[in-house]
């Protein structure tokens, strides 16, 4: 049994379907990246997993965490899961912290929400957590307010809050998008370190394929609320299957240290992600796809090939023999293989 099993997760706002029958799983200690352009339902997926979708949004499907079915849970029990078994880190660290409470109060609050610790013990634990996310001089900084921290430091505080109760799953929704490049790398390293040390499953939501290559074991590509491709990271970078994934890769600049940048135009993907509620019938990517033809007028089924999957009429997966696809759970292994 996987740590997290998601089956047919659907989020709708009225008639608009934002996340459409999404299924995936995450193992303990594994990093799954969910990628896609803005507006393709990634963040909504993160919120739906913890049932934080604001009304009038409605969530359907099944989410199982450690065998516990979260979808049917009454709100009070769901609250006990949030922050305890699942931690979330949001995109913008500048606004994710309450400006009028000290950092110590905010971390300690997350600690006390799920443990019987008293105020003093929770404060000590908050200092420990800040230390764990490498905030220098953690003890002294407990009484500082968020505005005294830089963006990267605030994101560390947000991470400390998310891991306060030792969750088994950490969801990081674009945790580095709002940060400088140098800080991005530090935050990714920190997330990876915590995942390893605390044995958490990590869902990393991003639109940055560089982040994916550095951190993820497996990648799920979303488009217009649907899963269009899923692969192990090395497989995805070696041979992207879906035309959308291939175009995403083409849109990414390739720089090699010590060499001048290639003087060629980046390949943009023409058009925009369709708005929820205005998703074209059939393959949602067809209007932007160079390979599309009359055959794309129906929704492509998800073809599976071991742990790889793709939803495209134009891609034929070879017959699968289990030996062909190794399980890349230890990253050092695939870095060596590269």
């Amino acid at each position: 049994m996987s740590l997290l099993e998601v089956e047919d997760l659907t989020v709708r706002f009225g008639d608009a379907v934002v996340v459409d029958r999404l299924s995936f799983s995450v193992e303990a200690g594994e990093t799954l990246a969910i990628v896609g352009e803005s507006g393709c339902g990634k963040s909504m997926t993160a919120l739906a997993l913890t049932r934080l979708v604001a009304p009038p949004g409605r969530i359907g499907g099944r989410v199982r965490l450690d065998g516990l079915d979260l979808t049917g849970l009454p709100e009070a029990r769901m609250r006990a899961v949030r922050g305890d078994r699942v931690g979330i880190v949001f995109q913008d660290p500048m606004s994710a912290l309450n400006p009028v409470l000290t950092v110590g109060e905010q971390v300690a609050e997350a600690v006390r929400a799920h443990s019987p610790l008293g105020a003093r013990a929770a404060r000590a634990r908050a200092a420990e957590l800040l230390d764990l996310v490498h905030i220098p001089d953690a003890h002294r900084r407990l009484d500082d307010h968020p505005h005294r921290f830089s963006g990267g430091m605030r994101q560390r505080v947000a991470i400390a809050i998310a891991i306060a109760a030792n969750p088994s799953l950490l969801i990081a929704d674009e945790p580095t998008t709002a940060l400088d490049v140098t800080i991005q790398a530090q935050i990714l390293c920190l997330l990876d370190e915590l995942r390893r040390d605390l044995g958490m499953g990590l869902i990393l939501i991003t639109h940055d394929l560089g982040v994916v290559a550095e951190t993820a074991d497996r990648v799920l590509v979303m488009y217009a609320g649907r899963k269009v491709e899923e692969q192990d990271t090395p497989g995805l970078f070696a041979a992207p299957l879906h035309p959308y994934t291939r175009r995403l890769m083409g849109a990414k600049p390739r720089l090699t240290l010590g060499e001048p940048p290639p003087r060629q135009r980046l390949q943009e993907i023409p058009g925009l992600v369709p708005l929820p509620g205005a998703i074209p019938p059939g393959c949602a990517f067809a209007p932007r796809c160079a390979d599309a033809d009359a055959g794309c007028a129906t929704v492509p089924p998800l073809q599976r090939h071991g742990r790889a999957a793709v939803a495209c009429h134009k891609v034929e997966l070879p017959a699968w023999t289990p030996r062909q696809v190794p399980r890349w759970t230890d990253r050092s292994q695939w870095r060596a293989a590269e």
């Binding site: 934080l52 609250r79 949030r82 949001f90 606004s95 009028v100 409470l101 609050e109």
Partner: protein
């Protein structure tokens, strides 16, 4: 902390020019009114010879140049000598000191009541946004805002004093009451306080409802509220500690501004309910053309507003830790 002490000091220094401007304005108003003190006294007595007027002017220091008169005026203020009310036959300072406590009691009670109920209704309205309850609160608070205070006061008297006979209609104490101890007296004052305080609070209450509602809705949409929910906190804790705590900031600002405006309200309400406060004293001064007394009340209330605004600024700084950075 030294930074917050510096902040207090700077705000105090900033208040000084304001105080000076008020004193100057007050003095100019005194000088701009047609006729001086001597004319007033002469008018009172019915007839006066030019020599008598001359003597009066010398007696009250009106025969010296204007800038020296201003210096005398400032000196007087520093000794809380605000002049003499010939109508009431008492020094203005004493009159004000005698009436001030009643007004402070009424204003504070009204503001606290308005804050408490207004914030509560605002929170309820924001929580049930778009519902019938939200609409009802909005309609009632708009009516409170739009209805003239004196009319509300009269209607409350008709209902609670005349029809139901629950509460007294006027004054601050029962005339000729025989109190058995302090507690008894306070209870009597409390009973007299209810109607004027409620009347005075209605106007402010509606403002608080609206501000609280909109501030709450604004804060609800902010990211840190989502963070708070993601921690697994109860809804009550999210609302009180994270949403309301931040929504309080605009409420405090507005309260500071309102405390100045409430003085205007006390004039009406104190007159309707016969409440022996500064507002009614001001009304009496207007109708008896008691310029000295009126200007004394102006000056006094202006200073109170300055002090209150200062206090609100400091409170704001205490509530919002970012203030020290913004300066």
């Amino acid at each position: 902390m030294p930074t917050s002490l510096r902040y207090v000091f700077r705000r105090l220094v900033q208040a000084l020019p304001m105080a000076f401007a008020i004193v100057l304005l007050n003095f100019l108003l005194l000088k701009l009114t047609p006729g001086d003190l001597a004319d007033v006294i002469a008018g009172e007595s019915g007839s006066a010879t030019p020599e008598f007027m001359e003597n009066l002017r010398r007696l009250y220091g009106l025969d010296i140049p204007v800038h020296l008169q201003f210096l005398n005026y400032i000196q007087g203020i520093l000794h809380f000598d605000l002049g003499y009310s010939f109508r009431q036959g008492m020094p203005v300072g004493e009159l004000i000191l005698e009436r001030l406590p009643a007004t402070i009691l009424l204003s504070l009670t009204a503001i606290l009541f308005a804050l408490l109920i207004g914030v509560l209704l605002g929170v309820v309205a924001a929580r049930s946004r778009g519902s019938l309850l939200d609409e009802a609160i909005s309609v009632v608070s708009t009516m409170g805002f739009a209805t003239p205070l004196f009319w509300v006061g009269l209607m409350l008297i008709v209902l609670f004093s005349i029809e139901l006979r629950w509460l007294p209609s006027a004054g601050m104490v029962t005339v000729g009451a025989d109190y058995r101890g302090r507690w008894d007296e306070w209870l009597d004052i409390g009973r007299h306080l209810v109607l004027p305080a409620v009347t005075l609070s209605l106007f402010f209450l509606s403002i608080y409802v609206r501000i609280t509602r909109s501030a709450m809705l604004e804060v609800y949409g902010l990211d840190f509220v989502r963070t708070a929910r993601a921690k697994g906190l109860t809804e009550a804790r999210v609302v009180i500690r994270h949403v309301l705590r931040n929504a309080l900031l605009p409420i405090v600002t507005v309260t500071g501004l309102q405390l100045g405006a409430i003085f205007g309200g006390t004039v009406v309400v104190e007159t309707v309910f016969g409440w022996p406060g500064l507002g009614r004293l001001a009304q009496e001064a207007v109708f008896s053309r008691d310029v000295n007394l009126l200007l004394g009340i102006f000056l006094c209330s202006s200073f109170i507003v300055i002090v209150v605004n200062l206090a609100v600024d400091l409170l704001y700084a205490a509530l919002d830790p970012r203030v020290e950075v913004r300066q």
